[in-house]
């Protein structure tokens, strides 16, 4: 089955069978990462440009490793090296890079929707590597891959997402994706960190984490940023840790087979205690490993676009 999209912008756009397709591809590519020679020629001659307008270590490295293992050439432009500081607009930067004929842009931007608007303006494929508080599709895909790996399925599972839902693109993409795949999603946060009307997106909304924990097959813990305290959203990080932090005693109420996830980077001792992060139920590092596989799958599928289009045209004329 060819992947028909030009871009990967978010889970909102994807149908369940497209998500399955990406995940199946990721599972089949994962094995490459454990070979002694970790490289296949699939994207040889393709040019991939990372455009990161927001700090990121993990996601950028993960995409870069994924691209290189598929033999693509990669270039990286980050906030500090970009000409944005010289006053060039994002669109101008993109148009200049476009003139150098890349195949895929991987974009992270602090403004929600920035990759979506750019996607309408360029023939180059765009992968959204996180836009503002909107979506982070590769993260949700790797999370779903990890859940399937550990639980064998998504359908019928209860996934508890706990933390700063309001500011989280990880939460939004996971909610959209998990709902499409048949999971039940419970979103738990202090009311100040819960966006309005999240129930209309299909989540069960709650503010008492201890009530939600016993029912969860998956507990996805979100990072809490220190700025939230200054924004009158929380009295203190300490209180958050006491009331919402996932720690050993809280986890005693969870199912024995519940898994603990975190998109990173972790604030140890704030949203998750060290013993839980490093404990037997934690799959946090599996998420990181699967991140490379999922990003390989995404780049592979988008990298086939020219070939599949040519193929379609040939079939039409035949």
């Amino acid at each position: 089955m060819p992947f028909k999209r030009k871009d990967l912008l978010g889970l909102r756009d994807l149908a369940a069978d497209e998500i399955e397709h990406i995940l199946e591809t990721a599972f089949s590519l994962k094995e490459i990462n454990t070979r002694s020679i970790k490289k296949v020629p699939t994207l040889r001659g393709k040019t991939i440009v990372h455009l990161f307008y927001e700090p990121s270590t993990r996601t950028r490295t993960s995409f870069d490793i994924a691209a290189k293992r598929l033999s693509a050439d990669t270039y990286s432009i980050t906030g500090s090296t970009s000409s944005m500081v010289k006053g060039e607009t994002f669109l101008d930067t993109l148009k200049n890079l476009e003139a150098m004929h890349p195949d895929i842009f991987i974009i992270r931007h602090s403004a929600s929707g920035a990759p979506h608007r750019l996607a309408t303006r360029t023939p180059v494929s765009i992968v959204n590597a996180g836009d503002g508080m909107h979506e982070h599709p590769s993260q949700a895909l790797l999370d779903m891959m990890t859940i399937i790996e550990k639980k064998g399925r998504l359908d019928g599972l209860t996934v508890l997402i706990v933390g700063d839902i309001a500011h989280s693109r990880v939460a939004r993409s996971n909610l959209l994706g998990l709902k499409k795949m048949g999971a039940h999603v419970v979103a738990c946060a202090p009311p100040t960190l819960m966006p309005v009307d999240l129930d209309l997106m299909g989540a069960e909304v709650c503010s008492k984490v201890d009530d939600a924990i016993p029912h969860a097959d998956v507990i996805m813990v979100l990072r809490l940023q220190k700025e939230r305290q200054q924004q009158m959203l929380l009295p203190s990080m300490r209180e958050y840790s006491v009331c919402y932090g996932i720690n050993r005693s809280r986890l005693e109420r969870a199912r024995r087979d519940a898994i603990i996830m975190h998109p990173g980077p972790i604030n140890r001792g704030v949203e998750i205690s060290p013993d839980v992060a490093d404990g037997p139920q934690s799959v946090i590092l599996d998420q990181v490993s699967n991140g490379v596989a999922v990003r390989m799958a995404v780049l592979y599928l988008l990298g086939q676009r020219d070939a599949s289009r040519a193929l379609a045209q040939r079939e039409e004329s035949a």
Binding site: R117, G132, E135
Partner: protein, 437 residues
């Protein structure tokens, strides 16, 4: 104004909508030397006079008093790359407007007699319609000290506002209402609690949650509407609420009017036409302040228009260039142009049965003129002709590339609409026409 030739025109078979007389009737209408000379069925001019006038058979098309837009941004002085008094008034005339009131957030701010005088002079030299400057409430729009309201009035300002920004300091708003009353200056409130709005970029609700965009709750507007109604009650000042966008604001204003508070209100076509769902594409053309709201707000705005809670329809014409708009939604400027799309959208309300043709005419001419204390909105014989001819039936697709405005930030571009301005007569002269002679 740049036009200096009063017209001699006979409009035959017009549907005349005169809100000042509350009359809606079929008639002929004779304009001689730029003055409305006679209104009546099948006017008999005699061959002599007939040869001197241009005769137009309107076949039932509408004649309204020249439209009055009490809320526009002409951007001059200071941001002439977005709009000028010349281009903005040309857009106004093309949209059927005989007069506009322009907001003071220019560069420099219109907080002085000098800027007001400059605007009026440019309008006299280059304008295609009347321009009535609105002065600032606070010096530099900084929300700290009162501007020289008396001097502004003297120079020709017709109201005061800090539009674009709220007056956050309640004491300053109280003083403005008190002081302005000595000069019969209405105070126009841009109702927004900046703390609650919190750098939001769209309405707070299910769409902002879905899109991960910072939301502006409806309460950010309603709290300030409520405050200003209370201050108006206390001071007996004249408050006018600009760009009403929420159901709660409509309810507050309705209750205040019932209690006898001297308050008037306006809304803009986008608030009864569009909802926050438009932002789903992240298109910055839909970013506006106050933001597009929910369908239930649109319904309440229509009810408020129908029952008279909302007195006027103004466009809040806010031109921006691609520099401000072709950017990330978070960084994009607020505002939409509206002068050349207002008439068909208001006619949509008439077709929906929300407003009668006469009510629509009143909300776009007589009512805003009355709020500002200006003698517009009438077709009385003997007066200088300011009038607008509208074909209410014509269907077409709105094309902002054909607009007179310098800017293209029109959220209705490409929309199928019905109703078009055919002719605008301002100060007895032809300011705009689509009719062949």
């Amino acid at each position: 104004m740049k036009f200096r030739e009063p017209v001699n025109v006979l409009l035959r078979n017009a549907r005349v909508l005169d809100p000042s007389l509350e009359r809606d009737f079929f008639s002929d209408l004779l304009i001689l030397e730029g003055r409305i000379r006679e209104i009546g069925p099948e006017l008999n001019l005699g061959a002599d006079l007939l040869s001197q006038v241009q005769s137009l058979d309107l076949q039932g098309k509408w004649v309204l008093p020249g439209l009055f837009d009490m809320h526009v941004h002409l951007r001059e002085p200071g941001e002439e790359y977005k709009e000028t008094i010349e281009s903005g008034t040309r857009a106004a005339a093309a949209g059927g407007f005989a007069a506009v009131a322009c907001m003071p957030n220019t560069k420099p701010v219109n907080d002085s007699a000098a800027v007001t005088t400059y605007i009026l002079q440019r309008a006299r030299e280059q304008g295609s319609c009347f321009v009535f400057p609105v002065g600032a409430i606070s010096r530099g729009l900084l929300g700290q000290d009162l501007a020289e309201l008396g001097e502004l009035r003297e120079a020709g300002a017709v109201a005061v506002t800090d539009d674009g920004r709220p007056v956050m300091n309640s004491l300053l708003m109280r003083r403005a209402l008190e002081y302005a009353s000595a000069f019969d200056l209405p105070v126009i409130s841009h109702a927004e609690d900046l703390h609650l709005a919190h750098d939001g970029v769209m309405n707070e609700g299910p769409v902002s949650t879905m899109l991960g965009l910072r939301g502006i709750p409806r309460a950010a507007e309603e709290i300030m509407v409520a405050r200003d109604l209370l201050l108006a009650e206390m001071t007996h000042g004249q408050i006018h609420i600009a760009h009403v966008s929420t159901a709660g604001s409509v309810r507050l204003i309705r209750e205040a009017k019932a209690r006898g508070i001297h308050v008037t209100a306006e809304t803009a076509p986008h608030y009864f036409t569009l909802t926050d769902e438009a932002l789903m594409t992240f298109d910055t053309v839909f970013k506006v302040n106050p933001p597009l709201r929910r369908p239930e707000d649109v319904g309440a705005i229509k009810e408020g228009l129908a029952d008279g809670t909302i007195d006027a329809i103004a466009t809040d014409h806010a031109p921006h260039s691609v520099l401000e708009k072709d950017t990330e939604l978070d960084l994009a400027a607020n505002g939409m142009i509206g002068l050349e799309s207002a008439v068909p959208l208001v006619l949509g309300l008439v077709r929906e049965g929300v407003l009668t043709p006469l009510q629509a005419a009143a909300k776009m001419s007589l009512n805003p003129a009355r709020i500002l204390g200006l003698p517009f909105g009438t077709l009385n014989p003997g007066t200088v002709a300011h009038l607008t001819v509208i074909d209410p039936e014509l269907r077409y697709i709105l094309d902002c590339n054909a607009f007179q405005s310098k800017s293209r930030n029109c959220p209705f571009h490409g929309r199928q609409v019905q109703g078009q301005v055919l002719l605008t007569i301002v100060d007895g002269c032809m300011a705009f026409t689509r009719m062949s002679p």
